[in-house]
Assembly symmetry: C3
Homo-oligomer: 131 residues x 3
């Protein structure tokens, strides 16, 4: 069962991206910023940056999730992944409210991704040197 | 044979990203916007936003393709993926022409990705609960 | 052993993303650009664009790495991947210095990714037509 936990994290990660995109669309309407403009209102820019940062961190997170699943443990990868998603959802809502609230969710998510990277990375190095 | 269809979709997705990047480079020349600037001309900004949106949606799409391939059906994943790529190519050319033309390609691609997410997501949940 | 080389490339790719993000954070401090702002200083904008471009190219590179690993050769995929990472690290530091220095690292990385795409793509087509 736990071997499918990373796949559940992938589903939740995609839903996180959908959430972030939806929040940008809503902010476009609310603050009257029409595409392709991405600036002109501080509140909109914050939501827009939140989405960009969510996408950027997903690009780093999914490889970490894969590394941890393949070279460490699907269970630990799944648990770390759930923590990452939770931290990222917190970050999304907090950053949309105020720039200085974004720290805690960001740190939790970064720590979780870091654990996956180290756990997976150690496994990769052990596999490469054959121990 | 159909088990390799998702891999073909991955090849086409990379080519889509190359196309979008090439369109931005061409627009830089055409409208005289030198890197690192990304604003100053409405036509350039539209092409630039098209590329950003293509990258963002690829970050969400490839996990959906993987989920559908692993937890639903490589054939259906491949077909849905081909529809996604077609919708995204349409979106790229239409958005480069005018912001209000970008809707249809976007909707087709989003619907295809949504089908892959639901198909794959149902498979993940069934695998997790063991039915 | 060489079958784990692509995984090492994935680890290094994540570290490249961490490096790029760290460089943006440092540039925010150095040039006094507070989030969510991403403009207002040419030096900051260059570092910011470097990071964006790194993320964008990672989104295209990792699928190429996967294609080459699965449909060509893990060894060649790993070697090409190491070249890509090296070109991208060069690009990151060079672009942070001056916009016109970014060409060589970019070209090396693009060539490496192109080789992986062609090598993997040929393998996919051969698998699809069954030869």
């Amino acid at each position: 069962m736990s071997s499918h936990l990373p796949a559940l994290v992938v589903v939740l990660t995609v839903l996180l991206l959908v959430l972030a995109t939806w929040m940008v669309g809503r902010a476009r309407g609310r603050y009257g910023i029409k595409a392709p403009a991405t600036s002109g209102n501080e509140n909109f820019e914050r939501v827009f940056r939140m989405q960009m940062n969510t996408v950027e961190s997903t690009v780093a997170f999914l490889p970490c999730l894969w590394l941890a699943t393949q070279y460490w443990s699907p269970l630990f990868a799944g648990i770390g992944g759930l923590v990452w998603v939770a931290g990222r959802v917190w970050y999304a809502f907090a950053y949309a409210q105020a720039a200085n609230k974004r720290g805690m969710g960001f740190m939790i998510a970064s720590a979780a991704a870091g654990v996956l990277l180290v756990g997976g990375g150690v496994g990769v190095i052990r596999a490469l040197v054959g121990i």
